[in-house]
């Protein structure tokens, strides 16, 4: 039991570190590139902005959930 917990915590710590690196890259690449375009949309085309905003947050949710799930599975050395 304790061995499993230690293994899970270690896997989680590694996952967190890898995830943090990915998130930092994400901040500087995607958000930096999208910032100007989203600012323009918000100011000029509100309806398009609303649709894009929802698509972005939903897309990010699915993408990051998949990334973290895969990372966790990979680090634990087994597929659920």
């Amino acid at each position: 039991m304790r061995r499993n917990t230690t293994k899970s915590l270690r896997a989680f710590a590694i996952e967190l570190a890898v995830y943090s690196i990915l998130v930092v890259i994400y901040f500087f690449l995607v958000l930096h590139l999208l910032g100007g375009w989203l600012f323009y949309l918000e100011a000029q085309h509100r309806y398009i902005y609303a649709a894009v905003a929802l698509l972005l947050i939903a897309g990010q949710a699915v993408a990051l959930d998949t990334v973290t799930t895969l990372l966790f599975r990979f680090l634990r050395g087994r597929w659920r």
Binding site: L16, Y19, V23, Y26, F27, L31, L34, G35, G36, L38, F39, E42, R46, Y47, Y49, A50, A51, V52, A53, L54, L56, I57, A58, Q60, A61, V62, L64, D65, T68, T69, F72
Partner: protein, 308 residues
């Protein structure tokens, strides 16, 4: 990091940490976490309108992650969630209209605040009594093992007889919810519960999960784990609607929401996994502080005369 849409300068690490905390709460309790996100954004100087709209967008993302995770554990009743989403959206619109009517009457803050204090405090006291009594009565002998199998998710509650009485109300049309283990319940009961949750959402902003989750357990008789998962699924739909309407009105800074959400993804997964290790009454007992935080926010609003 500068966010041009809301014209705010916020440290992204702060946003990630806030998202992480809200993610844990959301995954574990099935709430949106607006009572933390709103004040947290205000604290960084984000205007109130952006705080509300951005929070809703962030809730969509966090709830998608948590609902997906709960779905893999069999904790989401899609049929119930879709029906409740209709009631919540209608309730939120009605709540917004009621606010407008109270605004015209000139006593909106007083009425809404006192209603909220009584309701939230009542929920906290009731849940403390019910979950405490249920745990004390020792009806559930297997509370210390994990709660992965379907049978062990079936809750015992000292409020059970009242819930069964509500389920026996024969108001056409009756529907069955096999996933939640309910053979027949009036559609109107479900819509009413969702509608009331929606009204509070319209009154106070956010998803009002601290009203809807207990209502699903005590009024509809949904097992706690399923209530948490289904509430999250329902929040995805109602918060998406809210995000679109707020974005059209210019109240959403999606860049802030995206950054907050990166922390929420990890937090939501931890929260969901944690539900496996707690029985229903323990989750309900741990839920008690959430409506009390709502009370504290409303009291603060009354005293200072401004929304946090």
């Amino acid at each position: 990091m500068f966010f041009p849409i809301s014209n705010a300068d916020i440290n992204p690490i702060y946003l990630v940490v806030v998202g992480f905390i809200i993610g844990i709460l959301g995954g574990f309790f099935g709430v949106g976490g607006s009572f933390i996100a709103g004040p947290a954004l205000r604290l960084m100087g984000v205007n109130w309108n952006y705080a509300v709209g951005t929070d809703l967008a962030h809730i969509v993302g966090k709830s998608i992650v948590a609902a997906r995770q709960h779905r893999t554990l069999g904790n989401v009743d899609l049929k119930l969630g879709l029906i409740m989403a209709l009631g919540t959206i209608a309730g939120a619109e009605a709540g917004a209209q009621l606010i407008q009517a109270l605004k015209r009457a000139g006593n909106v803050n007083t009425v809404v605040s006192f209603v909220a204090i009584v309701v939230y405090f009542g929920i906290a006291v009731f849940m403390l009594w019910e979950s405490g009594t249920t745990l004390w009565s020792g009806k559930k002998s297997s509370q210390h093992r994990t709660v992965k199998d379907k049978a062990s998710k079936q809750d015992h509650s000292v409020f059970g007889p009242v819930t069964q009485m509500i389920q026996r109300l024969r108001i056409w049309p009756m529907i069955s919810l096999p996933t939640s283990g309910i053979r027949a319940i009036s559609l109107w009961t479900i819509l009413l519960v969702a509608f009331i949750g929606g009204i509070f959402s319209g009154f106070l902003g956010g998803g009002a999960g601290y009203i809807r989750m207990p209502s699903m357990v005590y009024v509809l008789g949904i097992p706690t784990h399923l209530a948490v998962g289904t509430d999250l699924f329902e929040i995805v739909i109602s918060a998406s609607y809210g995000t679109i309407t707020h974005a059209i009105k210019g109240n959403v800074d999606i860049l802030i929401a995206l950054v907050m959400h990166t922390g929420a993804v990890i937090g939501a997964q931890i929260g969901v996994v944690a539900t496996q290790y707690f029985a229903g009454p323990k989750i309900r007992l741990a839920f008690v502080p959430l409506p009390l935080i709502g009370v504290a926010i409303v009291v603060y609003t009354l005293i200072t005369g401004q929304k946090v």
